[in-house]
């Protein structure tokens, strides 16, 4: 794997847009994609969080404990502790990336009440997804977390491989 060689570059306006997305949706989790070329982000795609949609959590690799927990909550409350990407939005973004010649670089989501670290659920689902990316002709992205728990946003980016989490440093430019 060669993706550790170059640091990801996120332009300030895109970073600000991502933070704005997290703040607009708080206390619900936001989610989206960053795409670019040569490890430089050029474009942000906001994706709808549809965790509240009937049946969404059944098909999303959540483990039994998370499903049981989600089922105890109202649809609005579910979006405070989880996200499920609208895959119609995802496909539209993927098609746009292909037309613009961009690579998917990052999957991002927010943790309104928790630290900017992948949860057990994040790690499990990212690990399940490792085998899916090549099948849909995309490289394995890094995972970026935006925490709003302390007022000022905290942003961290990670690789998640085979259940192992490692930092994926990025530069803001």
């Amino acid at each position: 794997m060669s993706h550790a060689v170059t640091e990801l570059v996120i332009p300030r306006p895109i970073l600000d847009d991502m933070i704005a997305h997290a703040r607009e949706l708080a206390p619900h989790e936001c989610c989206g994609l960053l795409a670019g070329t040569d490890r430089i982000v050029h474009r942000l795609y906001r994706i709808k969080n549809i965790v509240a949609l009937e049946g969404a959590h059944y098909l999303s690799s959540f483990d039994a404990a998370k499903v049981a927990h989600l089922e105890r909550l109202s649809p609005a409350e579910r979006a405070e502790i989880a996200f499920v990407m609208d895959m119609q939005d995802f496909s539209t973004a993927k098609k746009d990336m292909r037309q613009r010649g961009l690579d998917l670089l990052v999957v991002y989501h927010s943790h309104p009440h928790d630290p900017a670290r992948p949860s057990g659920t994040d790690i499990k689902i990212a690990t399940d997804y490792e085998e899916i990316w090549p099948k849909i002709n995309l490289a394995v992205p890094s995972y970026l977390l935006i925490s709003l728990m302390n007022g000022e946003p905290e942003i961290q980016n990670y690789w998640i491989k085979s259940g192992q989490v490692s930092p994926a440093p990025f530069i803001i430019r």
Binding site: A65, M87, F90
Partner: protein
């Protein structure tokens, strides 16, 4: 026969197989034949009207069927179909 890739969350329905083969001339056909072989799978993929749910994608040779002809998308021997669940995650509590 059409090869269908089954994602982890649906494997309890397919006896833990990550790939199954079914005969089908269209996506609608494929979903119905999957349902006959693995009862319960259709409801995970489609709503009451038979439309693909928003938290799942079906790709035929890397193209989303939403950009082809949806459930009427034709299939031929050798096509590879991937069922792709939504990217998801969430905050740690209850961990």
């Amino acid at each position: 026969m059409i090869k269908v890739r089954i994602p982890t969350p649906l494997r309890p329905l397919t006896k833990n197989q990550g790939e199954v083969s079914v005969a089908a001339a269209s996506i609608e056909d494929l979903v119905n034949n999957l349902e006959a072989a693995y009862p319960g799978i259709k409801a995970r993929l489609c709503d009451d009207k038979g439309e693909l749910r928003r938290f799942v994608n079906i790709y035929v040779n890397e193209e989303d069927i939403r950009f082809l002809k949806g459930k009427d998308t034709a299939l031929k021997t050798g096509d590879e179909v991937s069922i792709v669940p939504a990217i998801a995650g969430g905050s740690p509590w209850p961990a």
